[in-house]
Amino acid sequence: MNNDAILQADTGWLILAIFSVIWIFLGWYLGRKAKGLEGFMLAGRRVGLALGTATAMATWVTSNTTMAAPQLALQMGIWGMVGYSLGSIGLILFAPLAKRIRELMPHGFTSGDFIRLRYGNTAWRVFLGISLFYAFGWLVSLGMAGGVLINALTGIDYHLGMTVILAVCVSYTLLGGLRAVIGTDFLQTILILTGLVILAILAITNVGVDTMHAAVLEERPELLNLLFPAAIMFLFNNLLFGIGEIFHSNVWWSRAFAFRKGVGFKAYLIAGLFWTPVPIVAGFLALTVPALNINVPAADMVGPLVAAELLGVGGAVLVFIIVFSALASSLDSLLAATSDLVLTDIYKGHFFPKASEEQLAKAARWVILGIGVLTWLLCWPRLTTLAELLYLTGAFVASTIWPVAAGLYWQKTNPAGATLAMLLGTAIGLASYFLIGFYVAALISAAISMSMVLLTTWLAPRSFEWSLLNTQPAQVNGGQS
């Protein structure tokens, strides 16, 4: 139990119960019209602009945005939150890619489909390793964030809170597939953004920017320093990390496949523009810590603690709802997209290439359940802080930026170069994570990967026929074991 909790455990359980019922009911209600495997996995490929924009925003506004942004502001000051906000560049840059993906692969299912068809089986397997490691890293960070938040605010045991949040997301994703995920994302986006604005306005009016500035300047002047070296490096690292996460992850590719024709570009562009200020609004709350004289026992709890200090029980309830929505909107998306990747690229691609649509539809549910259980097991020991866990995966994902982007636009990029770029980028990025710090892993990984793609394309150009990407699902999924 956490004796410093602001809410009573009973209140916490009540909020958990209300929102759990809402999300599961909505998941069932929205998902009941999903027909067939394509309906379950890709919402029938007919998602419109409003739902498309909201799901891109909600998925990218994670518990890491609402909890790690204040944490980073507390550790790195202005550049911590501004650097986090540059995560939106990934969404904005993915807008033209989403359009091209939809045009080149109108029948595609996963990002793995693209890598296999574009670069062959070796690159595909390396990519799958990176993608799945990242997906589980993100899933675990989200599950852990759920447990941490619930414990910090209500005193409910970390393991119980984490279990409830995972169980709810698995339940409604199982019931409604991507339709349930996208439908609930819309409501969750409205809740998150409205809640954040309320908190920000109350923080500005209760503390005041001048008081906040003066208190930080007195106690932690480095947080207001615009030339804070580690923070500036973090800014560029985070930019590349965000681009790597979005360019490679099936979370974003599955949406590019699921959106109506002509929607992808606009949806990702609008979502990126509206996402940009979110980490600043969530992050600046941490700058009120010196003015409010709050004792912060763990850096990743700073957001909820500030909200509770500012607004008492109401603030704690509000931040609980915001982060529960942020967690659910990302967890469900990641569960659905990861299960698509496991189902299409591992289950069918490697083990059951002749599986029928009915068999795949049945297996999809088991895969979602299995991923949920595995995530729960990995979340059980709370091993590291949220930001550290998240940034370990930066070395992996940043190595995929160039193979993906070059693969979509350059005919001459060759498979060996793409594979080497991912392997070397990841290895050297990881080494820099441990030897230098978490804030350089993505930066170095992306630089190595870029060098490899450019060098190998220049040394050994190979022509690729774009029409090979436009294959029917039966051919797409016929990978070799």
Partner: protein, 40 residues
């Protein structure tokens, strides 16, 4: 080089305004899609 209180205020206020506008735009888009039969 330290950020001034005025610059910090501008950064926070502008960000908050943008976040406040986003849900309104999303709801308008939702009604537009719904009317045109383009929601799903």
């Amino acid at each position: 080089m330290t950020i001034s209180p005025a610059a910090l205020e501008l950064l926070i206020t502008a960000s908050t305004l943008l976040v406040a506008v986003a849900p309104v735009i999303l709801i308008i888009l939702w009604f537009k899609d719904r009317k045109g039969g383009d929601l799903w």
